[in-house]
């Protein structure tokens, strides 16, 4: 009772109390004592961000769906809440039964972006769990993590007991079983971690030694014992139709960022854009069948009452029967007044037909991602889109009654010159011209072209994993340049902070030594680094200095092709050899075809029968 009083007291003072209250529709509150295994799902960012995340909803449903396990949610509190919790001596509590994090058997973090890493430390600390794996005792929970940033686990190796690499659906249950067995048989932490390391797709960093060369590059990553694999192969769910997908998801009271049903229509992408890590990590492409999707959509609409469904995937336009799917969904859901949105439309896959159909229910602004301003640059990054394609789609959109267009670009791409940046402005002008080409009586009023330019961050497991990121100074210069050339009537220009991107680059390709920087920065007060108002670049730079590491070594250094990369012991499905070939083609501004037009031999052919486009004979 005292606990609830304390909570009530601080909720009266805190800003945005609804993000801490819980009790939402479809949040399973299973009886604690009825389930032998307790999983604390941690999203290392605020409630509004976490509750917009599809992976959380899948795993939350999946774990609670098993009779023997329960899952409760934890989010990163905002700074004011942290201060109030400290004042009242309150630990980090679950949203469901308000239990502290260290009362759970497993604590699982989802790693969506590097700038959430300090939040992991903060949540462990507030949850009463020792920060580093080696500091944990037999009574502490097993701390696991998964998600895209788990593919280069090294910067978090000190803090996470076990990483799950690849699709989480199958491995999640296997991992929970091992941890349940530990609990039931009273096995030691060490024995448990060893058993976990034997699961396919599970990496236990404490069972591997990392050695370095004099120049700071990695010399070797070697298993400490014979039972663990020297290369950890990612998990792949073979068939999305037979894997778990929730039929009911939590419905927040308060508005979150993506406050709608997200229907994952497929996983993976065949495009092969060379900057895109997700396009590699989620390979191979696997589609959910139309029948399955329609069934899920109807169940989810019934269970949530949401007014909107978004079809989600990396490249929804590539779904093989998209127009049929949209038509069928609209037919079934029209009476329920549900609108359908396609969030990641690629400009070369938008079917005019489906444009008209989405509009029938609701009209929003259309987003296009040409990514680069010139054809040469787009060829370098293998963004298989031409100016002609883009302008055609834009014209279709304007004729179809849209007047608001968002264009996404990146700056700082390998080989980029100012001419490529000028190309962004040229493209924006041509988009505006398309609008005015539509007769006044036929077009919607109020043209709005938003140009967003983000700073390129080279990522592991991409052909650009060896590339140098532009320095902060160079990025600032480019930003000024863009500001000038994009000073066009009707254009709004957005730019991302190069400081955050610089740090993101350090962690994205960081090695195990980055863990020390992370801990130091956290201890200096860095948290919520993904938010402008809390990001402290100065403290981060101090932390690097104190740890004797140079951020430029990680961010701005071009790696030689034969360097051992800190993540080389993780097999993401695509081979290093494929990345090398792609890098060389990129240097020559040569493109690579979409896998759907023929197998490029990326490495996924090693999973028999999983990739529909794989040619088993290809290298």
């Amino acid at each position: 009772m005292e606990l609830n009083d304390k909570i009530e007291k601080i909720l009266e003072k805190v800003q945005k109390a609804p993000r801490y209250t819980g009790g939402e529709m479809n949040t399973a509150v299973k009886a604690w004592d009825d389930c032998p295994l307790h999983f604390g799902f941690c999203f290392p960012d605020t409630y509004e961000v976490g509750m917009s995340h599809l992976g959380l909803k899948i795993l939350y449903g999946l774990i609670n769906n098993e009779s023997w396990s329960l899952c409760e949610r934890f989010f990163m509190p905002w700074t004011d809440m942290i201060a109030l919790m400290e004042e009242e001596n309150l630990p980090l509590l679950s949203m469901e039964s308000r239990r502290p994090l260290n009362a759970f058997d497993v604590v699982g973090f989802t790693l969506q972006y590097e700038m959430s890493f300090t939040n992991i430390l903060a949540m462990l600390k507030m949850g009463g769990i020792p920060l580093e794996s080696r500091e944990r005792s037999e009574t502490d929970p097993i701390v696991v993590a998964g998600g895209p940033c788990a593919f280069n686990p090294e910067p978090l190796a000190d803090f996470i007991d076990a990483f799950m690499i690849g699709d989480g659906e199958d491995v999640m249950t296997e991992l929970n079983r091992v941890i349940l067995e530990r609990k039931e048989k009273g096995l030691s932490r060490e024995e448990c971690l060893k058993s976990l390391a034997k699961l396919e797709g599970v990496y236990v960093p404490s069972l591997y030694d990392v050695t370095y060369n004099e120049d700071g590059t990695v010399a070797a990553v070697t298993p400490k014992c014979a039972e663990v694999p020297s290369v950890i192969r990612k998990r792949v769910v073979a068939d999305l139709n037979n894997t778990y997908y929730p039929e009911k998801i939590p419905v927040p009271y308060t508005e979150v960022i993506f406050d709608r049903i997200m229907l994952e229509i497929m996983r993976g992408c065949t495009r092969g854009c060379r900057f895109c890590q997700a396009g590699i990590l989620y390979r191979p492409v696997r589609e959910r069948s139309m029948e399955k999707l329609i069934d899920l959509a109807e169940k989810l609409v019934g269970a949530t009452g949401y007014e909107e469904i978004s079809l989600s995937s990396l490249s929804s336009g590539d779904y093989s029967c998209l127009p049929e799917l949209i038509r069928e969904l609209m037919k079934r859901l029209k009476d329920k007044r549900v609108s359908i949105s396609l969030p990641s439309l690629r400009i070369d896959s938008v079917l005019k037909e489906s444009l008209e159909e989405t509009q029938q229910v609701k009209k929003t602004s259309l987003t296009f991602a040409p990514e680069a301003g010139t054809q040469r640059m787009r060829d370098v990054i293998n963004k298989g889109v031409t100016e002609k394609d883009l302008l055609e789609k834009v014209r279709d959109a304007f004729e179809g009654g849209w007047s608001s267009v968002k264009l996404y670009f990146m700056s700082g791409l390998p080989t980029e010159t100012d001419a490529d940046l000028d190309g962004i402005a040229d493209l924006a002008r041509k988009v505006i011209a398309e609008y005015f080409n539509v007769p006044k009586t036929q077009r919607a009023k109020g043209l709005r072209v938003t140009v967003s330019v983000s700073v390129f961050v080279p990522k592991p497991f991409t052909p650009f994993q060896w590339a140098a990121q532009d320095t902060v100074e160079e990025n600032l210069r480019k930003q000024e340049h863009l500001k000038q050339v994009l000073n066009i009537k009707g254009v709004t220009f957005h730019w991302h902070e190069p400081y955050v991107s610089f740090l993101e680059a350090c962690f994205a390709r960081g090695d195990r030594r980055m863990g020390k920087v992370l801990r130091t920065a956290y201890e200096k007060g860095c948290i919520l680094d993904g938010w402008n108002e809390t990001f402290r670049y100065d403290l981060w730079m101090e932390a690097f200095k104190e740890c004797g590491l140079d951020p430029a070594f990680y961010a701005n250094r071009e790696r030689p092709a034969d360097e051992i990369l800190p993540w080389d012991h993780i097999d993401c499905g695509v081979t290093k050899d494929f990345f090398r070939r792609e890098k060389e083609k990129s240097d020559r501004a040569e493109t690579t075809k979409d896998c759907r037009k023929g197998c490029n031999g990326c490495g996924l052919q090693r999973w028999k029968g999983v990739c529909s486009y794989a040619n088993a004979g290809s290298v």
Partner: protein
């Protein structure tokens, strides 16, 4: 037909604002599969109104929604389906089917009853002790917040009843479309009477909404 339904806003979700409560009820109605009526026009929404917006931070024991139905539905079916579709924190306890012509709830609203739990025992004693003194006054001034400023007003004529028991203060206060005495205003005036300077922490629970019958006495709004 319309359905008047009495529902709870529990302590756990008391910080959820009225707009979010409205949206939650809309979604609950959609989940229920009940034949609710939608507005015409470009962005159709369910025809549901609320007798009164409950402040952020306050719980409600008997809040009232007014739902226009597309087809006839029995009260029992409405209750049963809605309670399956609503979160634990917002369950319904009563429903009453009324005619389309039944007057709007908001227009009939006259008063609300509150249970104010004073968290600090010493404060509660002082406040409770000050009730007779305050009620004996001709006028009781309190500050009313308007959109732009703080305005002084006399809340004495806005108090129907004021009693106490233990750490609870029970108040029936005027609440109409035109004027209202909010619990905060009452406690502020009572604090002044009691000579309390520190801020009063309390848990506000609105326990009922009232209209007036032909004789001029207060009766529960949903029973009018």
């Amino acid at each position: 037909m319309r359905m008047l339904a009495v529902f709870e806003k529990s302590e756990r979700i008391r910080h959820i604002g009225h707009l979010d409560i409205q949206r939650s009820v809309q979604r609950g109605l959609r989940r229920s599969g009940l034949p609710v009526a939608y507005s015409k026009g470009f962005n159709p929404h369910i025809l549901v109104t609320f007798a009164s917006a409950l402040s952020t931070g306050a719980c409600g024991k008997r809040e009232i929604m007014d739902v226009t139905m597309e087809e006839e539905v029995s009260e029992a079916v409405f209750l049963e389906k809605m309670n399956r579709a609503m979160p634990q924190e917002m369950q319904l306890c009563e429903a009453r089917a009324v005619d389309q012509k039944y007057p709007a709830l908001m227009a009939s609203l006259q008063a609300a009853r509150y249970d104010l739990l004073i968290r600090d025992q010493a404060q509660a004693e002082k406040l409770t002790g000050a009730i007779p003194g305050m009620m004996a006054r001709e006028t009781v001034t309190a500050m009313r917040k308007t959109k732009t400023a703080l305005k002084e007003c006399d809340i004495k004529p806005l108090i129907y009843e004021l009693t106490a028991e233990g750490q609870h203060i029970f108040a029936t206060l005027v609440l109409t479309e035109r004027e209202a005495c909010k619990p905060g205003m009452l406690i502020e005036a009572l604090s002044r009477e009691a000579g309390l300077e520190s801020e009063v922490r309390m848990l506000i629970t609105r326990t009922g909404l009232y209209g007036k019958n032909a004789e001029g006495s207060l009766i529960p709004l949903e029973q009018m």
